[in-house]
């Protein structure tokens, strides 16, 4: 291994330039006042204090609620899907996994625009409903449309890790459970579910993290008034121009995510 050590150097430089330095800059912005000159920094906690206002706290609560709902739906729909795929004949498995991942090959913006077309007041779904004599339903710019967009975008990130942990599970463990007197239901809860926990935890982490930090999907499917933490950060940097406050929110989000990941990891290792 030692002779390969120098091959690491480009990656270390890469990581330093593109990850560590920006992180330091964000921290620097978060703890300083607006309008600083490069050499005269004045440190402050004002940016964090500002975040404690009800409006902003509500944004973060809403983000978490939405992230939670998205994750729960992805898990509830993705686990059975992953389970069915892992129990299919091997050749079919590859095909089904391909079908799950194919949407990810298409640009996320395009997919989201497609949903806008489907969901809008005079979109395809409402036109079909009209043919059946049902009044148009408002779907765009609601929690429904945003959650739908998030679920559809992030579903593969739930399905793939769960599928991986299910498919590499030793089948004789399942037979052993049957053999020892467990029926299908008991075998699932006492063996299959427990052994697929690493995949479930990974899936939850991925989907939750992606959905609380996203800003494109809520912006397009939720409309301009739909404020999630990702949109808030974006607007601070792009439209409001308060980089210091934007950096502070980013930092808060990062800390919350780290705490969340810590707990998930703990849960995972307890199950082992």
């Amino acid at each position: 291994m030692k002779q390969y050590k120098h091959l690491l150097k480009p990656y270390i430089i890469w990581a330093a330039v593109l990850i560590v330095i920006p992180l330091i800059l964000i921290a620097l912005y978060a703890f300083t006042e607006e309008g600083n000159e490069v050499l005269t920094l004045s440190f402050t906690f004002d940016n964090f204090r500002k975040f404690a206002e009800a409006t902003y706290v509500n944004v973060i609560l809403k983000s978490f609620r939405l992230g939670l709902v998205t994750t729960v739906i992805c898990l509830a729909a993705g686990y059975p899907l992953a389970f069915i795929i892992s129990r299919s004949p091997e050749r079919v498995q590859g095909l089904l996994i391909l079908l799950v991942t194919i949407p990810e090959w298409i640009n996320m913006l395009l997919r989201t625009y497609a949903w806008m077309n489907l969901l809008s007041d005079n979109g395809i779904i409402n036109q079909l409903l009209g043919l059946l004599g049902i009044d148009p339903v408002t779907m765009m710019y609601t929690d429904f449309s945003v959650i739908l967009g998030l679920v559809c975008n992030f579903m593969p990130f739930m399905v793939i890790p769960i599928y991986t942990s299910l498919s590499k599970m030793d089948h004789s463990l399942i037979e052993a459970a049957y053999d020892l007197g467990a029926n299908r239901f008991q075998t699932f809860w006492k063996v299959i579910w427990k052994l697929s926990m690493p995949g479930v935890v990974n899936g939850i982490m991925m989907v939750f993290l992606l959905s609380i930090s996203t800003f494109v999907i809520p912006k397009l499917l939720g409309g301009g008034q739909y404020m999630l933490i990702g949109n808030l950060i974006e607007s601070q940097f792009i439209s409001v121009g308060d980089w210091n406050f934007g950096a502070a929110i980013s930092l808060i989000l990062a800390v919350i995510i780290l705490i969340f990941m810590h707990f998930m990891k703990k849960m995972d290792s307890q199950d082992d």
């Binding site: 004789s172 052993a176 459970a177 049957y178 020892l180 029926n183 008991q186 006492k190 427990k194």
Partner: protein, 348 residues
């Protein structure tokens, strides 16, 4: 008389268009140590899996105490399995693994703890309750797997090549131990292996299988001494197999000589095959024997020498503790009880 516990009646099994079992008929008795022995792909594991309930036979019946069970799921059968790679639950410790079946029966916690302790003692792992099963050695995992199956007090324990993954020394020790455990718990063991020595040393009954068919059922001594056909003779131990003719009861002819033998019941002048075990052949001076030849090769095997003797018709393999130098003219002496006559393959 022992009670019949399991009856397999005309069992067949097809996987896609491949026939793995071609009509298995077998009676298994209480307290019996029965071994299904055969080369890989002979259908022994499939037979075991049908008894366990993991496979459904394509046709035929599985009777358990006279009741047809071939459609019954595994969790409703009074049998437990020890899997080839143990299949211990990695998320549970030793005690939790053993208690798995008891917990499902909603047994009292203190009763479960007691039973687990007793099992661990029996398999020699007292004090291992809280160990992580993934950190145990192969032999220890094996013992946990046996304890996990036996704690449910099944009527039959199925073992699918349970010693296959262990190294030779531990395997020998486990063979003795398994036999001891079987006597101790007094239930039927059905054991699958491709190792003939394992089968002969542990079993009450050996079932030799090949190509999805039973070749012979018998005690280890029967199987070894009176193989029914060429397959059994060559699969179990080494042997010289010679085509010949059964002249009449107690008289057989091969390689132009007639020999007295102990076999009877064949039609007169029936073409048969004779099995001569290498250790039954004695090397004598050429004048004393009907078969004569030249020593072609001698190999030291530890306990005995393996000597190849070339005769007019064939080369014989002889196992003996006597030394004979290459090139020497020798005779081969056989007594009537050294000759085992069997039906030719495909004629029975």
């Amino acid at each position: 008389m022992k009670n019949k516990l399991i009856e397999l009646v005309d069992l067949t099994k097809n996987f896609d268009d491949q026939q793995v079992l071609r009509g298995i008929n077998l009676d298994i008795y209480e307290n019996e140590f029965l071994t299904l022995l055969g080369p890989s792909g002979c259908g022994k594991t499939t037979t075991l899996r049908i008894i366990a309930g993991f496979e459904e036979p394509s046709s035929g019946q599985v009777l358990f105490n006279g009741i047809e069970i071939s459609k019954l799921p595994p969790y409703k059968r009074e049998v437990n399995t020890v899997f080839q790679k143990y299949a211990l639950f990695p998320h549970l410790n030793v005690a939790e693994n053993i208690a798995f079946g008891l917990n499902l029966k909603k047994m009292d916690k203190s009763v479960i703890a007691q039973k687990v302790e007793r099992m661990l003692k029996m398999v020699g792992l007292s004090g291992f309750e809280n160990r992580d099963v993934t950190l145990l050695s192969g032999g220890q995992q094996q013992r946990v797997a046996i304890a996990r199956a036996l704690v449910n007090e099944p009527k039959v324990l199925l073992l699918d090549e349970p010693l296959g993954a262990l190294d030779a020394k531990i395997r020998k020790a486990m063979q003795v131990e398994l036999k001891k455990i079987q006597r101790e718990v007094g239930i039927t063991f059905i054991y699958v292996t491709h190792d003939q020595e394992e089968a002969l040393s542990m079993s009450d009954t050996v079932v030799v299988m090949n190509n999805g068919e039973i070749q012979q059922i018998g005690t280890p001594t029967d199987i070894y001494n009176e193989p029914e056909n060429r397959f059994v003779a060559s699969f179990i131990g080494e042997s010289n197999i010679i085509e010949g003719t059964m002249i009449k009861d107690f008289l057989v002819e091969f390689d132009g000589n007639r020999f007295e033998c102990v076999d009877k019941g064949f039609p007169e002048n029936e073409p048969i095959e004779v099995v001569l075990r290498p250790e039954d052949l004695d090397i004598v001076s050429p004048e004393e024997a009907k078969i004569t030849g030249t020593v072609r090769n001698i190999t030291f095997k530890g306990v005995h020498y393996e000597i190849l003797i070339e005769t007019e018709n064939r080369t014989y393999t002889v196992h003996t503790t006597d030394y004979a130098e290459v090139g020497r003219k020798v005779g081969l002496k056989l007594g009537p009880e050294d000759i085992h006559v069997m039906w030719k393959m495909g004629t029975y």
